[in-house]
Amino acid sequence: MANDQSSPHSETRRQLQMARSMCWHCQSEMSGEYFCERCVKVQPVSKDADYFTCLGVPRRLTLDPKKLEAKFYELSRAFHPDFYQTKSPTEQTISLSNAAVLNTAYRTLRDPIQRAEYLLALEAGSVKDIRTSPPADLFEEILELQETLEEYRASDRDSEQGHRLRATLQTEQQTLEGRREDMESQLRQLFTDWDQLQDREEATSQARAERDRVLKHMRDLLSNRTYINNIVSDLAATIA
């Protein structure tokens, strides 16, 4: 079995967009966003809509959590199955799948890191050559730390060696946490940079190159941060 999240073929996409423009119930031209303006029936969220579109927010990395939450609550009131109990089976099905999509969208966009990872996936087309493995220095460091961790796990925690290893690990944890902090502040800067580039809407090759650079840098930081994050939680769990 294999995980496959590639988008549908362009032909299917076109059909979906066409289907989207028509109300499933009264077949009239759709002008409303989530409900048909003529028969007031709920409409399925397009399978092609990204999470930003789904939540009705701009495709930006700095989002106001309060506004995002307000939008989520508003759409939950529109889609939640609780309000479709007396409606037709078709409407109930649409409500259920819309609510599930909405929940996934909100969960992804609510967290700045997940939001950036998602955006990277959406923009992946323009940064095909990015590296996904961690840089060698970090790799070495993590490997070394793993060894110390194993040593500590095997040691008698109350022995002198145990105490020494524990102290080493604690220092390592603090260093790594500091590094993670660093990366996160760099990421925040990149998020702002990206949003500003998007806001300028320049189509020059220079602007495109700049966007690719920001994305690539972001991707590197995100993947390194994930490695550090995993080892930090491993450390915390072991020496707790």
């Binding site: 609550y73 939950s76 939640h80 799948s97 599930a100």
Partner: protein
């Protein structure tokens, strides 16, 4: 739309509630009692439920089922450690526990259905209308099998279960409606058999669950057991009696332990009295609150770890919690309140009746579903991660715990061998790495057209609906055809089995009605005998001796009829007695009137 009721199907007690003029209220019985003990007894006259069944716990322990909720969605191996505590006989068929009552075996959903039917009858009598739709509550930490078993119980009872909702979140609805609070609340729900903690954000009518955790095998029952073990050991040491071998006395010990625990919530010490078997007299001892607390503190501590995990999952610290709400009978214990207060750093809220608040919340949710309440919306989460088995016996997570429901995940499957026609999928729930440490939910086989390896593309959608119950659908991406999937639950009844149980339940409904009528007639007869005897003692001298004799004859006849098995005969004898005692009652009334007027002036009247 027909009325939807809210039901709290509890381990110890169950309640049914409905919405009346925008306020939820619990349906009482004729005596004003709101709780139906979750006890089912098989008597010589059929199955009985509730208060009257509770009396059979000591009289008829092998045929009286209590705490059946602990067995919902479980196999026998899951409850092995506590089998010794239950006097009734348990077995397992098809991954489902069966409970023997007389000649027949019943699944936990069937027993629960009997309790639901009793609640349904109660509501129907109170509201004078037929009840067919319900919202039923479950512990937040119930897994898919336990939720499905609850839904099955509803079906068997003839109820359409429109929603399964979590007990702590139901409580938050009732609490939110009453207190109009905004902010972050923690609902600490410690009931008869289960423990839940839910952290919610209340804002503008939205009740968003941020995290939930718990233990579906931790409750008041466990506190009682500590006392039972202590008393049994003392009886053995001091009196040389193995009380465990007397199921009826063991039940008496359990009930006395429960009562003592309850008394010690208000008092500092209490007297324990246990009647010993074979006329060996009584075992008595004093139990102080301090002693009780030192015995159960370990169990209460076990509720704190889930609280900490829930806080962490919600990304909060105790300081972020604005209010702590207590739910469930076990939260009446002062020690529980102290521990909760110490953990969260604030005095918990306990203005609402912890026994009724869940049922009230279920009624609010029922009203939301029927379109009555439109300003409130509950956004709940799935308590456990959902995943599938992958190579090497490892679980691969598809939907993480504390994900807002409805939640869905899609997974694409293909084949490894040319011409392979099926892919076996094993669905799991839990937080551990390895398959064997998680809960197996179900298995199914995906049908695949025979093609070269890797060519078929079957997309499987795992959808957890608003009830927290999993639905699986599959689609062949090459043809766009949907495929129906027959999921075989690991710990649940099959659809055909549930259908058969629904049929059985209707077949036996007639017998059940007969049994209930008989019990009610007996209870009424008892009451009538008592009052008539009292009247005779007080006012017998006011009527002729012949009439007194007549009344006595009728009394004897009614007592005899009461021991019989015919409700109609009892009712007839009751009518005769009432007839015979007419003069007596009139004379008594006159007499009391005279007495009350005695010594008063005419002008006062």
């Amino acid at each position: 739309m027909a009325r939807i009721v809210g039901i709290d199907l509890g381990t110890t007690n169950s309640l049914i509630a409905y919405m009346k003029d925008g306020q939820p209220c619990v349906v009482p019985d004729r005596h004003g009692r709101t709780m139906v003990p979750s006890v089912v007894a098989l008597t010589d006259n059929g199955l009985i439920v509730g208060d009257s069944a509770r009396e059979h716990l000591t009289r008829n322990p092998e045929r009286t089922v209590y705490s059946v909720k602990r067995f919902m969605g479980k196999g026998l191996a899951d409850v092995q450690s506590e089998l010794a505590y239950f006097p009734y006989h348990l077995s397992e068929t098809g991954g489902v526990i069966r409970i023997r009552l007389g000649p027949k075996n019943y699944s936990p959903p069937q027993i629960s259905a009997m309790i639901l039917k009793e609640l349904k009858r109660r509501a129907e009598a109170h509201l004078s209308e037929s009840i067919t739709k319900a919202v039923i509550t479950v512990p937040a930490y119930f897994n898919d099998s336990q939720r499905q078993a609850t839904k099955d119980a509803g079906l068997i009872a003839g109820l359409e279960v429109l929603r399964i909702i979590n007990e702590p979140t139901a409580a938050s609805l009732a609490y939110g409606l009453q207190e109009k609070t905004q902010g972050t609340i923690a609902v600490y729900d410690f009931g008869g058999g289960t423990f839940d903690i839910s952290i919610l954000k209340l804002k503008g009518g939205i009740f968003e669950v941020l995290a939930t955790n718990g233990d579906t095998h931790l409750g008041g029952d466990d506190l009682d057991r500590v006392l039972v073990d202590l008393f049994a050991a003392e009886i053995r040491d001091q009196r040389g009696i193995d009380i465990g071998s007397y199921p009826d006395h063991m039940q008496a010990v359990r009930l006395e332990a429960e009562r003592a625990k309850i008394r010690l919530s208000d008092e500092l010490k209490t007297e324990i009295t246990i009647e010993l078997p074979e006329n060996r007299g009584c075992f008595t001892r004093e139990l102080t609150r301090d002693q009780l607390e030192s015995l159960v503190v370990g169990i209460i501590e076990r509720t704190l770890a889930p609280c900490r995990i829930a806080l962490k999952d919600a990304g909060l610290t105790p300081n972020d919690i604005d209010e702590v709400v207590l739910v469930g009978g076990s939260t009446r214990m002062p020690l529980v309140r102290q521990r909760v207060e110490a953990l969260f750093g604030k005095v918990p809220h306990c203005h609402l009746n912890p026994d009724e608040v869940v049922a009230l919340g279920a009624a609010v949710q029922a009203d939301i579903l029927s379109g009555g309440t439109t300003d409130m919306l509950l956004l709940d989460v799935t308590p456990l991660s959902l995943g599938i088995e992958t190579m090497g016996g490892v679980m691969s997570s598809l939907i993480r715990r504390n994900t807002t429901i409805p939640a869905s995940a899609k997974e694409m499957f293909t084949t490894y061998v040319d011409g392979q026609t099926g892919v076996d999928i094993h669905i799991l729930q839990g937080e551990r790495e390895l398959v064997k440490d998680n809960r197996s939910l179900a298995r199914f086989r995906l049908k695949v057209p025979p093609l070269p390896a890797g060519v078929p593309r079957i997309e499987v959608t795992f959808l957890i609906d608003a009830n927290g119950i999993l639905n699986v659908t599959a689609k062949d991406m090459r043809t766009g055809q949907s495929q129906s999937i027959e999921v075989k639950p690991s710990y649940g009844l099959s659809d055909t089995e549930v259908e058969r149980m629904i049929e059985d339940s209707f077949k036996f409904a007639a017998e059940d009605v007969g049994a209930r009528k008989l019990i009610e007639a007996r209870l009424d007869a008892d009451a009538l005998i008592k009052t008539t005897e009292k009247s005779l003692a007080e006012a017998g001298h006011l009527v002729p001796t012949a009439e007194v004799d007549g009344i006595r004859t009728s009394l004897t006849q009614l007592s005899a009829a009461k021991d019989g098995a015919d409700a109609r005969v009892i009712r007839a004898r009751m009518a005769e007695l009432e007839q015979a005692a007419t003069h007596l009652n009139v004379a008594m009334l006159d007499d009391s009137l005279k007495k009350s007027l005695h010594g008063k002036n005419v002008s006062d009247v």
